[in-house]
Assembly symmetry: D2
Homo-oligomer: 106 residues x 4
């Protein structure tokens, strides 16, 4: 994804504003948690949420995720697929199908 | 991104395990916040963190973000670029360059 | 703490507004995470934060914690002291002194 | 609450382990967000949660809140009551009764 239009646009946006100085991995991790809270706020009192607002807050979480992946020099798609392989092992279909139980209690 | 290998793999993984029933937008938003907390935990007492663990937790946040985007029927790349355009307006380069100040205090 | 002035004031505040209907344990847990994100936002780009704003956001997290404790019928002081006893065992002084290492790696 | 048994016990626990060095306001704010995520995890896939686990995680959030209040030199009860007064003004009973609407949309 390092040649992807999205990552290029983000890098350009950050460079224009000389913001890389604030984008330590720690600050980006804090930002992901902060935006995750704002996304959750769409559902604070119930399961119905304004679609546009959810899309907006999700975009913020994703943005910081992509910035962190870039800062760490990893490909977002690659780490997701890599983690998926390991999760496959923790949740074999025959045990996990139809159940939300955590792997250590399967 | 709806034809992307990553989203296809995630959909297949979820379908095999009959897990879509648990993936309401609200539950996915909660999951993003939860994983965001685990990512943040890598930096709980300082800015040095184990690179592998950070990559792992970031993958979890991204995974739930992609699942939520898919559930909402939106393209992750599209909503990030769309939000970036609006953020451009809130942080004009001449005012925001080199500053971490929030837009309403610029 | 169930006779404490703070809890009484909170109960009265909620009752006047007929808000108990929204205060399921789940909604209160979501609220704590949301306010935790707002508190963290005070430190998003660095360790210096506006003291008044931190106090304000901390008050919000505490408020929802007290509401949840009350909803669960537990005494906040009691559960904190109870947990502290168990934490004593996980972090014996001779092993844990001066170290931020998590108990499972001591 | 600065003379309360709970705060005294926490201070003693921290001093014995020489942990105050890790308890900067920022690290404590991160800890509150982290524990808030663990509390939320009790409700990740639904509204039913194990009572003991919720109590345990709530105790962790409260513990860090009390440590932060102590570090800032504020009384938890006082800042909660103080914030409640301001919230009264934002949510007058006649407008807010029975509604979960945020104050800026009342």
């Amino acid at each position: 994804m390092t040649d992807d239009n999205v990552v290029r646009s983000l890098r350009e946006f950050v460079a224009e504003r000389d913001w890389a100085q604030f984008h330590s991995p720690e600050n980006l991790a804090k930002s992901i948690a902060i935006e995750g809270g704002e996304l959750l706020e769409c559902f604070q009192w119930g399961s119905d949420a304004d679609a546009e607002r959810v899309r907006d807050e999700l975009a913020d979480v994703l943005t910081y995720c992509l910035l962190l992946a870039d800062r760490l020099g990893v490909d977002p798609d690659e780490i997701v697929l890599d983690k998926l392989e390991r999760t496959r092992g923790k949740y074999p279909v025959e045990k996990a199908r139809g159940r939300s139980t955590k792997y250590d209690a399967l």
